[in-house]
Symmetry: C3
Subunit: 164 residues, 3 copies
Amino acid sequence: MAEDAGLRERLAALESRVLQLEDHVAILRLVNRWGPAVDTGSSDAAAGLWDDDEVLESDLSHLQGPAAVAEMVESEGQQALIRQGCAHVQSAPVVTVDGDHATAITYSQVYLHSENGYDVWRVSANQWECRRTAGGWRLTRRVNRVIDGSPAPHTILVGALDGP
Amino acid sequence: MAEDAGLRERLAALESRVLQLEDHVAILRLVNRWGPAVDTGSSDAAAGLWDDDEVLESDLSHLQGPAAVAEMVESEGQQALIRQGCAHVQSAPVVTVDGDHATAITYSQVYLHSENGYDVWRVSANQWECRRTAGGWRLTRRVNRVIDGSPAPHTILVGALDGP
Amino acid sequence: MAEDAGLRERLAALESRVLQLEDHVAILRLVNRWGPAVDTGSSDAAAGLWDDDEVLESDLSHLQGPAAVAEMVESEGQQALIRQGCAHVQSAPVVTVDGDHATAITYSQVYLHSENGYDVWRVSANQWECRRTAGGWRLTRRVNRVIDGSPAPHTILVGALDGP
């Protein structure tokens, strides 16, 4: 009996640890889908990564809600980048999962096709906030700050240094 | 008795979830070994990542079978890149495991050493197909399309947007 | 009874596999924190990633012990990079965990803000050695070799090709 209870407890502990690992993988997947969505002009898929009350904030734009994300992807500015050949690449994130919320800190690089190869147009610090919903993990907030010597990206990157 | 059956079922479910996570890690490892193999001219190791019926397809080459991969690594073209200093870097992939098959979508960048640092020579979309074999996961297909404004890389990248 | 023993064995095997996966995630986290620490001048956090007897070795420096790491982060050289805008980005590593030790092989890129976007200043091969301590995983050694056509980075990168 006591041993059975011990097994049950160990199993429950393990289930919770496995869920944590699965959450980690789900967050990677979510963050790594952003590039493919915006670089192919897949406005519906790009919007579908976000929860309804999301905010996407950078020096280039302030987008509230999935419809605004879709509109940005379809905008002439983004379409021009796609015609030129663009790649929005995230670095492997530092992920912190806390129950039904998670944060991922990444560097992002935007490469643009040019005459002699590729230019590195933007290198930024990114804070991605995520929420577990009935339909799986969704993005709720992204703050993007260009790394140009100003302190703004630092306030994002130090978030990767918190916690154990 | 009934409780024992319950424990057994939970354990089996957990074993299957852990295998899925291990597969994910194995795919990362497989895809991330390609760069070190080709950048060091390790033709045997490069060939060993692939299953016998593999196809490696890009605008630069169409390689069928591990021997063709080894030959490409030993080719004068690849050796010249290695002498110059080259780095084939994959982005963190979007991995989808389905039983004994898996797909990983990545961006790849090829950096070449130059007078004043590094040039970004190629930025591409990559579809990696993998198979579980008796010897572990192996690559069966890679399609590589340069991101230059043409639609070819888009058909690869949208593969990262499928599924849950 | 025999069945109970079977359950117990399966549970123990699973616990060990989950720990291996958690170690993998911990190593990713450790390696991916280096960039945010040095790019924000967080000398304490940068030093805190390393164990007391660590060695950090590159063509630029040879640092022994966390205090030397902190000093490097606070040095005029690093501070000048930070003022210009720098991003030390690691590729997704090839991680090998062996009990209380682990190795991660990465490519690193250092981007520097410039007039027209970003220059790729350094692309290197990195070997990170890690140790499980009472306070969690810590770095014990990093060897960084610039990829410039010389054989030094190759001896690091081939480490990613060892093992299963």
